[in-house]
Subunit: 314 residues, 2 copies
């Protein structure tokens, strides 16, 4: 018998040999082998991936938070009142302690001011322009060049095995859709994310979807299975995350019948990326680490399991 | 030059030759011909179809309304109070005037009682059981056998031309997902519809999505472009509907740049199906008829354009 070409060195080349890589290949082999008790029809091969911290970095600050801050600065000339009003004053003066002191309310104000009161087409252009030029504060690389190469390979590998790959992010769905197809090979209709409300309107005979300053779905934690249900409508069979915000997505995915796969990316590489888990302000991971073994979720040790972190410089 | 095989008699065999069939074939030819000014990459070939009145019948009563009434009857033994409380009393006694007298509030109560307070898995089973046995009051055929054969051919034809076909229904998304793949070839993740809220919960260690008696999205009228945006995230290039509840979906779809296609099914066949438009209680069509010509939307005259209405008896 010829070995399944899945088990070739050409597959997942940025992954070191080890438990994580083997578990991925073994799962793919089982669900794609006709006659295997774990065989899955192509239609049921749905895999969901968190974005922040799973497909790209989330340190020292969520990328979308950086987008929001930049957007406030760009809009400031039209809002002179922001110079004396928190949380905007803090944003403009770089006083993040003052912003943090405003708590949830301040965050909501920043999200509304930076994301809403435009049309979906206008916002898409704003995101495209920003993502095409904004750079990471320490590496000075474009954020879209700081995606995790091993995870890109994993997305492509699963698609080669008949999987439909979805992004299920706590980040905003409209912040992701304009660029994820080029970066991850995931089309806009396969992105689930947090969203604000939109309203259909006809302005001067031209229909638009107006973005309102009201949250419609927080696609994080227990909101992830809800977002998955609304958009995908079937339970995934494989889920990939990195923080406790992904816990319920992994739980929902891996509790179904038949073959299931759950994986957590553990950020252990202070040298090449960042090392954080239980105490981190973004991407906190505690319950996932505590329960992964009992739930048979694979924990990727980034430092040990990944040969490289980022794609080669273009 | 060999003619495009699109223009073969084997394509859309249940459609009579005429303006509607020609317009469909011409559109498909233009958007799939490389080098044509109207060529569309496969990724952008998104087509959206209304369900009630477009893919299957909606007379004398919406199918899902019949489902709700049957469900109330099935649950009545556990709800003795319904025997004396409207709108349930009216449903149980077949007194639809009493039900109608309750207006929107009565409808909301019927929807909540018949659709909510179960899990998504339980509801899926309920729908599967009902749709597998319920029959149309006049023809006595299963509802899934009373889909419109010409529209099924159209769905398949567009898919053969690289289109991704979506259902965008005012009906409940969870009422449709369990059976549309078999009936229309549309997978659950390509269904947009009205929905109630769901909440993630872990019961006795088993995760569930609980269906709550609160409306989350009414995917009808101006709600259709909203549902399309939430789930698909790009503007479709072709839209198919039959009532003014589809007006904004057609408007949104056909207002975009490049090649666009809008089509309205006009129910003109009292003999083989039903004839109704401006005065109908379900599937009212007035504005669409008034504005179709100016908007270059194709109006299908069911009696003239369709050779058959339903698939052959199995």
């Amino acid at each position: 018998m010829t070995p399944d070409p899945i088990f070739s060195d050409a597959v997942l080349p940025s992954w070191n040999e080890g438990v994580a890589r083997s578990a991925i290949l073994d799962f793919a082999h089982r669900v794609t082998t006709e006659g295997s008790p774990d065989f899955l029809p192509v239609a049921e091969r749905i895999a969901v991936f968190d974005n922040d911290g799973t497909l790209w970095g989330e340190q020292p600050l969520y990328v979308q938070a950086k987008f929001a801050l930049d957007r406030i600065k760009a809009l400031a000339p039209s809002h002179p009142e922001w110079r004396t009003t928190q949380p905007f004053k803090g944003v403009l003066e770089g006083d993040m302690k003052a912003v943090a002191a405003m708590g949830e309310q301040g965050l909501a104000q920043i999200v509304a001011a930076s994301h809403a009161n435009n049309t979906t087409e206008e916002f898409e252009t704003i995101v495209r322009d920003w993502i095409g030029s904004a750079r990471h504060p320490t590496t000075q690389r474009l954020y879209t060049e700081m995606v995790f190469q091993p995870m890109r390979e994993l997305l492509g590998f699963l698609r080669s095995q008949g999987f439909k790959t979805y992004i299920v992010s706590g980040g905003g769905v409209e912040f992701l859709r304009p660029w994820v197809e080029r970066t991850y090979g995931v089309p806009p209709e396969q992105v689930v994310g947090s969203r604000i409300k939109v309203k259909y309107d006809v302005r001067d005979g031209r229909p638009v979807l107006a973005r309102l300053p009201d949250v419609d779905l927080v696609d994080d934690g227990a909101g992830k299975p809800v977002g998955i249900h609304q958009v995908i409508g079937r339970r995934p069979v494989a889920a990939f995350g990195n923080s406790d915000g992904d816990f319920q997505m992994l739980e929902w995915t891996t509790s179904g019948p038949g073959a299931r796969f759950g994986l957590i990316v553990h950020h252990t590489d202070a040298e090449r990326e960042f090392a954080y888990d239980r105490a981190s302000h973004s991407g906190r991971l505690a319950r996932g680490l505590d329960e992964a073994a009992a739930r048979r979720w694979i924990v990727v040790d980034m430092k040990r399991d990944w040969k490289v972190i980022y794609p080669p410089e273009p």
